[in-house]
């Protein structure tokens, strides 16, 4: 069983393309292998005749396990007595360590610290990137280029399913879509997501925002949304609950010193999460300006690597599109993601009377490896308290 990726440990025989007795050319595809990531037609290492298929279609075996026996052309294997080992036959099982170990390039060269870090941040397999450096070394610039353009996939590998049913349209994956898919799957598979929600009375906050809106627009030429208020409160709450601003690692939980808030930002056909760094040191106005600059760059496709890396917590303004409830997927490496849902006027009970208040749901997905429900609820309650305390008397 050939190894179809750095982290792949087993493969499934999807389909035999050759049957025993059929001849096969060297490099001719003779079996289709699928893994959790890709499907690939595997080329024959030798020219010859298929003698035996060891693994049945649909069966999964570890990488390195024999899957078939091919009699090499020119050898008189068929005439060999049954009790003798088929000496000239070639057992198909490319070595598991075919030059791709531990992030090394195909040539076995080491990767630089910057390449290793960037590859991890962008979830790129270094082995799939063709290097432009000396002796084909993969450079940091190559990784950045791969993160923003089409990755170079090995020739025999293609993404499953190979084709759409008749009449359906198959939209080819853009590199961005591929990256989103990979990271979302990675997040869901590694971080056990738990979910919780509070409803927040933002009547006073809304009034404050409306009171500041015109002056802000005159001064900065931009619309003052609820997002920077929300981010400010989130940063404060994260300081009060540092475990929410953390990452899970096998050797411990890394609690981050700074609050770097990612903003889930929809762009044309894609999604990026630019990061406002050191949000805990910024005022509401400071956050607003930083976020606006990032969102603007995101929409024009001008973000650079640094804009996108280093996030410690993410916020998502789902409410802008009218959503009142959502269960977001964590950005890999972060312990929490909070959404602000649509602000809607609803009748609520205040002082045993029914009042009309502007209400907003705040939803939180959390990495249950890092924090438990009680702490997350405490964080949300703190956030709710801060948001409800915000009103026209505050300072931007």
């Amino acid at each position: 069983m050939p190894q179809l990726g750095e982290t792949v440990t087993e493969g499934t025989v999807a389909r035999w393309l050759k049957q025993p007795g059929e001849s096969v050319e060297k490099y001719e595809a003779f079996v289709e292998i699928s893994t959790d990531k890709v499907s690939a037609d595997v080329p024959s290492p030798v020219a010859g005749t298929i003698r035996e298929l060891i693994v049945a279609e649909g069966a999964t075996v570890p990488t390195g396990a024999p899957i078939a026996v091919i009699d090499e052309a020119g050898a008189v294997a068929a005439a060999a007595p049954a009790d003798q080992p088929p000496a000239p036959a070639s057992v198909v099982s490319p070595p598991a360590s075919n030059g791709r170990n531990n992030g090394a390039t195909a040539g076995g060269a080491r990767v630089s610290p910057a390449v290793r870090r960037l590859a991890r941040e962008h979830a790129i397999d270094v082995a799939t990137v063709s290097g432009t450096g000396t002796h084909g070394r993969v450079t940091a610039a190559d990784i950045v280029a791969a993160a923003t353009s089409a990755p170079v996939a090995p020739a025999a590998v293609r993404v499953a399913p190979p084709s759409a049913p008749p009449g359906d349209e198959l939209i080819p994956l853009t590199p961005a879509r591929r990256l989103i898919a990979r990271r979302m799957v990675e997040s869901k598979q590694t971080a056990p997501h738990a979910w919780t929600m509070v409803e927040v009375d933002v009547t006073n906050l809304w009034a404050w925002r409306m009171a500041e809106k015109d002056a802000f627009e005159r001064e900065h030429g931009m619309n003052l949304t609820l997002l920077p208020f929300f981010m400010f409160a989130v940063a404060e709450s994260l300081r009060a609950f540092p475990l929410m601003n953390a990452s899970f690692h096998e050797n411990g939980i890394a609690v981050h010193k700074n609050v770097n808030l990612g903003i889930a930002t929809a762009t044309e056909g894609s999604l990026v999460v630019p990061v406002v760094r050191n949000a805990e040191e910024r005022s509401i106005r400071g956050i607003a300006l930083a976020a606006a600059a990032l969102i603007e760059r995101a929409r024009r496709g001008k973000l650079d690597v640094d804009d996108l890396s280093g996030g410690t917590f993410t916020v998502n303004n789902n409410g802008a599109a009218g959503s009142i409830l959502s269960a977001p997927i964590l950005v890999p490496g972060q312990a929490g993601i909070a959404t602000m849902e649509a602000v809607v006027k609803r009748p609520v009970v205040r002082n045993d009377a029914i009042a009309i208040r502007s209400m907003m749901n705040v939803c939180l997905s959390l990495d249950h490896r890092v924090v438990d429900g009680a702490l997350a609820s405490g964080f949300l309650a703190d956030l709710k308290k801060r948001l409800e305390a915000m009103g026209p008397s505050g300072a931007l």
């Binding site: 630089s112 610290p113 910057a114 390449v115 290793r116 870090r117 450096g133 000396t134 450079t139 940091a140």
Partner: protein
């Protein structure tokens, strides 16, 4: 020390500096209210303006008065400011610095001149043991506001005792600031800042650049903060940190590479201590590659400290091993041209190293 030394020095330095290979390098564009000066003239302008502005400022050293310094930097100073403020000293460097330390502690602002950096060793104890420690030892009761000026560096056919770089011998010492600017403007701004600084500053002037480098210098009082590097050329694919004569070669090499589409950022360190870590780290985080160029010996040189600092702070931004291009680890620069050439770093070598690093 031979008594004729100073006179020899003067003849040698004047003759050799004037015959430096290549024409003057122009630095900076024309500015209103600015004068086009050589590095040497920039030193003179800063000294003169400081002497005029503050009567506590005085110059002590060998041949600084009657001879007007071996490079003719202080010509006319003795006549203008008198023998109490322009003091000719015997060939005794320990005394020159030691006396200046006492003057500084008592409220004067001495500028001690060591005629060539090669002669600074007798003053080592006064600089390291006294000047650098005065503030600490007196628990802040005394400070030592003095400047020790000295021409350093080779490439002028100066042989064993007129070519040395000394910065690494002193940069290990807390309490001592070291400045090594490379352009006329930086020289004036930093020498003025050094004279006004409340603590001792070792001010290094690369003698090959004295007449070779020219550029605009604003008239009147201005300072450039000690401890701030300067991005002399911005670029994206590699960072080169240098200072002194090498800086100008690095800029030349980078300019040549620019025409081939290779973009190198060149940082002029300007201050060796305090070192501008932020400027270096910011640049390295951007370009991910670092080349350090200095004429001083490689082992334990300034480049070693920069390398260690970058490795500590920015390892995961590095896309190539840090590279140092430095003087060889031999005891001195030879007199014979091939030996001198072998010690000095050519612009071609810098260019080749930059190219290799960008391509790595």
């Amino acid at each position: 020390m031979v008594p004729e030394r100073a006179l020899e020095n003067r003849a040698q330095a004047n003759g050799l500096i004037a015959s430096s290979d290549g024409g003057p390098h122009e630095v900076g564009g024309a500015q209103p209210g600015a004068e086009r000066l050589s590095n040497l003239e920039a030193v003179r302008m800063a000294l003169h303006e400081a002497m005029v502005a503050d009567e506590r400022v005085l110059i002590v050293g060998e041949d600084v008065g009657k001879r007007g310094n071996v490079f003719l930097i202080t010509t006319g100073f003795l006549e203008e400011f008198g023998p109490k403020r322009v003091v000719d000293m015997p060939l005794a460097e320990a005394s020159i610095v030691g006396i200046a330390v006492g003057m500084a502690m008592q409220g004067l602002r001495p500028i001690a001149e060591i005629q060539f950096a090669d002669f600074i060793y007798p003053a080592f104890n006064q600089i390291v043991g006294e000047a650098a420690k005065t503030r600490y030892r007196s628990n802040g009761d005394y400070s030592c506001p003095m400047v020790i000026r000295t021409p350093y560096g080779g490439g002028v056919h100066g042989a064993l005792s007129h070519s040395v770089s000394i910065e690494a011998l002193f940069y290990h010492v807390p309490g001592l600031k070291i400045v090594a600017p490379s352009t006329p403007r930086d020289i004036k701004g930093l020498l003025t800042a050094a004279i006004e600084d409340p603590d001792p500053v070792l001010f290094l002037e690369h003698k090959k650049t004295y007449r070779l480098i020219k550029g605009e210098v604003p008239e009147g009082h201005f300072t450039i903060p000690i401890g701030k590097a300067d991005v002399k050329k911005s670029g994206t694919q590699a960072t080169v940190v240098s200072y002194g004569y090498n800086l100008h070669q690095a800029l030349e090499a980078a300019a040549q590479l620019e025409t081939e589409g290779i973009s190198v950022e060149v940082i002029d360190l300007r201050s060796i201590r305090p070192m501008d870590k932020t400027a270096i780290l910011t640049s390295v985080r951007k370009t991910r590659k670092l080349l350090i160029v200095h004429e001083d010996n490689k082992f334990g040189g300034i480049g070693a400290e920069i390398s260690a600092m970058v490795a500590e702070e920015a390892l995961f931004d590095l896309d190539a091993p840090i590279h140092r291009l430095c003087g060889p680890d031999v005891p001195a620069m030879g007199y014979a041209r091939p030996l001198e050439d072998a010690f000095m770093i050519s612009t071609e070598r810098m260019r080749a190293e930059m190219q290799k690093l960008v391509q790595f």
